[in-house]
């Protein structure tokens, strides 16, 4: 199983590629809504990309209140 830092790194790469943001501009504790400049539909797109990439199921309600890449990684780690 990957470490939390490895999962964060994968998320940052995936987010950078998906939303055309330079990887070096993203950090673990950033607010991903602000950094990626995404709306509600794009948040769903991110959720789907994370599920497809990590082959996990991530119920939407587990993401309420999660705003940082680290928070996303912690939720994913719990299901790996």
């Amino acid at each position: 199983m990957p470490t939390l830092d490895q999962t964060i790194d994968e998320i940052l790469k995936l987010a950078a590629n998906s939303f055309n943001v330079p990887r070096e501009q993203l950090a673990a504790d950033d607010d991903f809504f602000q950094k990626l400049n995404i709306n509600s539909l794009q948040a769903l797109e991110l959720l789907t990309r994370l599920e497809n990439h990590f082959t996990v199921e991530l119920p939407d309600y587990e993401f309420q209140g999660v705003t940082s890449f680290r928070g996303l990684a912690e939720r994913i780690q719990a299901r790996l």
Binding site: L41, L44, D60, Y61
Partner: protein, 267 residues
């Protein structure tokens, strides 16, 4: 009518395939204008049997297949109305959309929903009317109605029950969570998952295969395989109209309309 170009949707028949394209920004929300054009489509579908074997429904918008009922319009048209007027307006809309969806459901044509992106609420109900759902791997399916104090009103529960096991039906309804295409295929909602951007191509390819079979046999098989749950659909209308007058519904609609949250469809 072989071709139609409307404000919210368009269709054409070519080489035995009827293609219905949804194109109302931002995500094909179903309001009165869409309903009126869907009614024209339903009439055309009844006459299309001699020209087409398959109907493919898809969205031309990048945002997705359909985000469901137009909640902003619903809120605008119903807020502050006396109970009886509110029920009458909602019943009229729901009865009309049921008539359209029942016509599509019962059509002798084989119907395919090519779904990408968001397929929520009334959008999922439209997809469930179809015989097959071909989904882009980025598609998401959801019934978020309970957040508003409602149940799905366009035939969602009876048709979901027709196709899926109760565990999935209850999970989708009671949590309001969304499923991705892979999960939707695993539970039997989706028949094929396409690569990103390939759902329509895959649906067209499926239509070409379906066209090869005898139309009478195909229609008989469809009627046998997919009975319309008429009694439950009528019950749904009654339950929906009764629930719609709850104060929680107007409050839920207001919250949605005024929300700036990232995931406004969640409670």
């Amino acid at each position: 009518m072989r071709n139609f170009q409307g404000k919210t949707l368009s269709w054409k028949i070519e080489s035995g395939v009827l293609e219905l394209a949804l194109h109302r920004e931002p995500c094909n929300e179903i309001g009165l204008e869409t309903l009126q054009e869907l009614e024209v489509f339903a009439e055309a579908l009844k006459e299309a049997q001699s020209d087409a074997s398959v109907a493919v429904i898809y969205s031309t918008l990048a945002s997705g297949f359909c985000a469901g009922a137009d909640l902003r319009e619903t809120y605008r048209l119903t807020q502050g109305l006396p109970r009886q007027e509110k029920i009458a307006g909602v019943r009229d809309f729901i009865t009309r959309i049921h008539a359209v969806f029942n016509t599509i459901d019962a059509s002798p044509l084989v119907t395919i929903a090519a779904v990408d992106g968001v397929c929520f609420g009334g959008g999922l109900e439209l997809a469930l009317v179809c015989d097959l759902i071909v989904a882009d791997r980025m598609a998401r399916f959801c019934f978020p109605e309970l957040r508003l104090g409602l149940i799905p009103g366009f035939g969602g529960i009876p048709r979901l029950k027709r196709d899926l096991g109760n565990a999935v039906v209850r999970d989708l309804l009671f949590t309001g969570r969304s499923l991705n295409a892979t999960k939707a295929q695993a539970v039997g909602l989706v028949s094929q998952v396409a690569a990103e951007g390939e759902a329509l191509r895959l649906a067209r390819s499926t239509a070409e295969q379906i066209k090869k079979f005898d139309p009478n046999t195909r229609a008989a098989a469809k009627k046998f395989l997919k009975p319309i749950p008429e009694q439950e659909l009528r019950q749904e209308i009654e339950i929906f109209c009764e629930l719609f007058t709850q104060p929680a519904v107007e409050a839920g609609l207001r919250k949605f309309v005024e929300s700036t949250e990232a995931l406004p469809y969640l409670p």
